[in-house]
Symmetry: C2
Subunit: 758 residues, 2 copies
């Protein structure tokens, strides 16, 4: 095994001190000269016609620069995956979140006052709030033009022969699982500042996870405004939490653009916490029907899953989560025959977006709950049952995923060691286990899954590297800095990562799919390798040796086996610069991973490599109250290699806590389309006081394609948490909760139901 | 001749509208959270010991965060070319401009109040204010440790045999010329903001012309503060005038750094207009003894020049201007035997810096005035005399300058045509002519004369180019954009030039020596060529032709002679991006011109090419008042090629107006070391109402090394203005003024003296 100097070090986040000192600039801190403040008016009904709107009083209010309504939206301006969402709605509202007017004014106060002066008359329509009900024949139509509430999406696959396999199965388990709305709870609320220059080129400050795709979206908005051939610059302030919430562009950004153009001034729209709850997207609620079987030895024979997703009133990327759900469905454990069918259904509820795991937590909740049920039927220990079916390197799954490195077995070992061997079970205690598979080497969901990097070195041995990748708090800056420093024999502090401006940073498809360390890391590594090659060639001429006889380490280039011949890197750089025909070191690299877009039948190798993990949890259930106490938690992940174990653990801890919230307490409560708990008092986010003891064993399988062997690990921490908890509760008290979150009320009701039955 | 689409177009400055709309951000506009304001206390004596200083009252003032004195300056911290200038002076002051204390406070008002509370006791010393007097044996020493007021500088050359040549000369002219202090009068005053991050890395906002060298200076300051191995980032706001004034780092920048470090907060120091006059540098005052001769046919035989420069009390780059004066002395016209000897002498006056022309205007004033005197002696028409001696392509001058392209003769033609053939001379009218040579292809005054460029293209056919070059209002952004657009067949509006941040922009030695269009232009062109090569290779594969069969024009790549085969550049870029193994276009280039550093005898080819110009002026002199009226002015320049004729004319107009101020009205009036006119009422800058009719014929000689044939032309406009005016006055009224500025008082006195004599 190779020893590394910087890769593998527990180096604190490069921007930690700046953040701790209050120096980091969030969207909240962006303030431009002459800036106006925008505010948005939302619908007062879940489903209604707008019969009249009077904005004259708002427009007349001193300090108001512009008032926009749905009538001001150019016809081609539509947002989202399905293009069913104009930034302001003109004639009809389909949910409480629908934006119907916006103002720009000299202050937030004036803007709010102006909103209150807008008079709207509605004609309420009957709404539909349950996706299964919305599929029924005479259900009210959310979008009349669409003729049905079921979206025309192709989420359907069948590999092998599920019917035949079921016939041949020794044991079959099946059930219905449901998950509800949860939301990202980013501590920095959403916001954007838009401004135009004199030539109608646009700059948008936005805490987006997708600067390059946002640039494209905003160019489309400009085109809809008849502003062709313009430039769009996206500047990303420090992001205070992303988790997928910023993987699309939103009405507030497009409205800020429209207002800025109308006012010829910078316009800022910033959400307050209530707005953040009510007007940003959630995780998809699902209804999951699962049926799977195994043979006598416990080998899985088939898996058959049908889902209904509540799409809400508009379509953002949430409607594409079934494409990712396919991954655990077809490829978590060896399962030869698979069927999957998902329907996304319009309702008059809020609508969903990407959220950490992107469908995987919902699918894995059903699969891994059902795995325990099937193991019980087969009379096999749940952990042993998973060992029988575990993925192995070299596997090609029914969907065509090529498993290169796979530490799933080692993860099981680690969890057993850290958890099961720990202590015997007490009264009301139970242990549960659940596994995960996730993309770990990019995920080709767009025409390119690439990322660019540009590197330059100065006369003092310091590096500036411009990455397309987005650090939204997860620590990508460290990954890039540690990878580049390792390759060039420097220290992490020698590397400055520039990552926040499309004018400067190369293209990247965005911070999603746990792809940044792998893809942006490989791009940075590619640029560093090119730089190293140039430097070593120069050093080789200087020392009159071959480049391969040189090493770069400790800020020094030296000749192998000749301790007399060495030169500090900064001196070598100056020699190269201050010579006749002098040059300075610059290099670039564009890394597009060799993964595949999904084909018509969804077969592909979606990711260059896959990450695996196993979570185990010990719970205590209070039979009197139904309250579940997590006593300790082990989350073992095959990460390829830990570039920075401290940040990796941070990702896992954060993921587990987010997963526990999903499992036990979090829920956006929506009644008749209206959110009832849009605040941190009533939305039960796990906070510092709720943190449980977590161990995060790191399994290093040295992935052949990852930068220094690393795979992506951003999302997995929250993927199998809920089924692990559900399985532990079952072991503790014998009740299986199939509806998230697993509140004390549900547990207690199940216990009472059970004791009635017994 | 090749036709160009973008090069040669009169495209307005890319930032013109932003500036007109008040959107450009100058140093005045930089305001950071928590920022403090610094103010500097200056000496009250031209020469004195500081016997006591009490800062306790200042320190106690509420709102004051720090007070620094000379005692706080680390011993190694010395500024300027001669390292004789600590940012704050401790024991002795040598001029009124000497900084002795500084404060940082919550507002400028509090900072000023604090300055007024600092109590200083001085023991005045006798001063010396005339450089020739300062050379005398018993003159007071400005720096005792230096033992003499004459700086130890090597400004001395002798090519050929001047004595022998003089003996052989048919005619000899000689005289003494003097020039005084003038200053840049940038409309945006000087200022800087310094801040440290948590790791003591430094960011400085400064309107500097030398971001890369300033970075180096600030790193040395950090090293003197025992902050080693830190990063320094220099951010350059929009610069409101440079003209050489910002070619060094100054006390205010280093003081801002010291205060920022002490306070752990951003500190801004911004000069008011009085401070700008009193505490920034001037053009060097010179005393010039010239003697030159010619043979009977009018061929120059020798030139012998001795100079004394008033160095003032401290040494900035001003002391190196003799190295540039050598250029006209040895190489303006063919002159085989040359001697030059310059002494820089300490006085208790203010001190000088780079200023447009960098010594060339002073030397050319003496040379070209004396050329007319010699022509008169030889009985040859002054214009004909210049034709006899004009430089030609292929010449190698005594100093070793290799003249590649040279349009000096064509410039004479143009001036004669536009001026002399115009109208007959009226009463009191005269015409004067003077020529210039200047570096036009860089000037190797540092170990590197290079500039880097990085280019990237997006999916929409737009280019971002990061240049080391500095646009300080002269329009470099346009040069870069037009060059890159031309090379890539795009429009100038497709090119975004990024040039303001050392984190992002490659290295460049600075905006001086009229080098930016040539050097930064060649760097940008190099990057564009590489990008084009990649694009054409991709296009060639696509169209199945050879790359050389393709052309890029009008945002389109097309196959020559096959009008069916073409593709818009943006589409081609997307094809390259969205293919398997996709890539995006990035390219870099570092251009270090093949010019030479000066050798021991100052022989070298300082620049890759040289720019030439001839100015002609028609004046009317009022014999009653001595007032000189410029009736019209022609400034013809050999520019190689005009990348943008409009901006080129702007450079020439501005240069001529600056030159006319130098010739006729501008003077920093210094009495006993103290500036008497530190304001725009008493300092007679030419303003809009003083503008005269100017024609600026452009001579294009298509330089083989320049980007699209261009040579540098930033400084020349102000170089030969004063002698052209002096020569015209002589023709008008027969008096020769040898001391700048040529005020009505001097002209009138000379006329009265002349009439006494007659």
């Amino acid at each position: 095994m190779i020893g590394y100097n910087v890769v593998g070090q527990r180096i604190p986040k490069l921007d930690a001190a700046q953040k701790a000192m209050g120096r980091a600039e969030y969207i909240q801190d962006v303030r431009l000269p002459g800036m106006l403040f925008g505010k948005i008016l939302y619908s007062r009904h879940a489903h209604a016609k707008i019969t009249a709107m009077d904005i004259s009083k708002a427009r007349a209010l001193p300090g108001v620069h512009a008032v926009l309504t749905g009538k001001d939206i150019p016809p081609r301006m539509r947002m989202g995956f399905y293009k069913d969402n104009p930034p302001l709605k003109a004639d009809k509202v389909c949910c409480f979140r629908d934006e119907i007017a916006a103002v720009a004014a000299v202050s937030e106060e004036v803007a709010k006052k102006a909103l209150s002066l807008i008079e709207v008359e509605y004609e309420p329509l009957p709404g539909v709030f349950d996706p299964e009900a919305a599929m029924e024949k005479n259900a009210p139509l959310v979008h009349e033009a669409h003729k049905s509430n079921v979206l025309k999406l192709p989420w359907k696959l069948h590999y092998g022969d599920v019917e035949a396999a079921e016939k041949d199965s020794a044991f079959v388990a099946e059930d219905r699982f449901t998950t509800t709305w949860v939301t990202h709870c980013c501590l920095s609320t959403s916001g954007a500042v838009a401004l135009f220059d004199a030539s109608d080129n646009l700059t948008v400050y936005s805490n987006t996870q997708i600067p390059s795709l946002a640039q494209k979206d905003f160019l489309e908005t400009l085109a809809a405004m008849d502003l062709k051939n313009k430039r769009v610059r996206v500047i990303k302030p420090v992001i205070g939490g992303g988790f997928g919430s910023k993987l699309d562009t939103y009405a507030y950004e497009h409205i800020a653009i429209l207002l800025a153009h109308k006012c010829r001034k910078p316009v800022k729209i910033l959400f307050d916490r209530k707005e953040e709850f009510e007007a940003t997207s959630t995780r998809q609620p699902t209804v999951i029907y699962i049926r799977q079987g195994c043979d006598k030895e416990g080998h899985l024979t088939f898996r058959n899953i049908r889902m209904v997703l509540d799409n809400g009133a508009r379509t953002s990327w949430g409607a594409t989560t079934p494409s990712v759900m396919m991954m655990p469905i077809t490829s978590l454990y060896r399962v030869p025959n698979v069927r999957y069918d998902a329907k996304c259904v319009y309702t008059n509820n809020t609508y969903s977006q990407a959220m950490r795991g992107y469908g995987n937590p919902q699918a894995t909740f059903a699969i891994e709950s059902c795995m325990d049920m099937l193991a019980k039927k087969a009379g096999i220990d749940p952990v042993a049952f998973r060992r029988i079916n575990q993925n192995e390197p070299g596997d090609v799954t029914p969907q065509g995923f090529k498993i290169t490195s796979c530490g799933l077995g080692q993860c099981i070992d680690a969890v057993e060691k850290e958890l099961a061997a720990d202590q015997p079970l007490g009264e009301g205690e139970g242990i549960g286990v659940a596994s995960l598979i996730h993309v770990g080497g990019g995920a080709r969901i767009y025409k390119s899954d690439g990322c660019g990097a540009i590197l330059k070195m100065d006369d003092f041995g310091k590096v500036d590297i411009f990455t397309g990748g987005t650090d939204m708090g997860q620590g990508l800056d460290n990954m890039i800095a540690q990878i580049v420093a390792e390759e060039l024999g420097l220290l992490a502090e020698d590397i400055n990562v520039v990552h926040s401006d499309t004018d400067v940073c190369p293209w990247d498809v965005g911070a999603h799919a746990s792809r940044s360390t792998f893809v942006a890391g490989n791009a940075a590594l590619g640029a560093a390798r090119r730089a190293k090659q140039t430097l070593l060639a120069f050093g080789a001429r200087l020392f009159e040796v071959a480049p391969e006889d040189l090493v770069m380490e400790n800020r020094t280039v030296s000749v192998k086996n000749d301790p007399e011949k060495f030169m500090p890197v900064d001196k070598l750089l100056r020699k190269a610069h201050f010579s006749p025909g002098g040059t300075m070191l610059m290099a670039d690299y564009f890394y597009d991973p060799p993964n595949e877009n999904m084909g018509k039948d969804f077969r592909c190798n979606l990711s260059v490599t896959y990450s695996f993990g196993v979570h185990g949890v010990r719970v205590h259930v209070d039979k009197e109250t139904g309250k579940v106490l997590v006593k300790n938690y082990v989350a073992a992940h095959d990460v390829g290699r830990a570039i920075n174990p401290m940040l990796l653990e941070g990702q896992v801890y954060g993921g587990v806590i987010m997963g526990l919230g999903y499992a036990l307490s979090e829920e956006v409560m929506i009644k008749e389309g209206q959110i009832k708990n849009p605040n941190f008092r009533d939305y039960k986010l796990f906070t510092a006081k709720d943190v449980v003891p977590i161990k995060a064993p790191v399994i290093e399988t040295h992935d052949p394609d990852g930068p220094f062997g690393a795979k992506g690990i951003g999302e997995p921490g929250c993927v199998p948490t809920a089924p692990a908890v559900a399985n532990a509760i079952f072991q503790a008290v014998g009740v299986r909760i199939k509806d998230l979150p697993i509140t004390p009320e549900k547990v207690l009701a199940a216990i009472q139901e059970q004791s009635k039955g017994s």
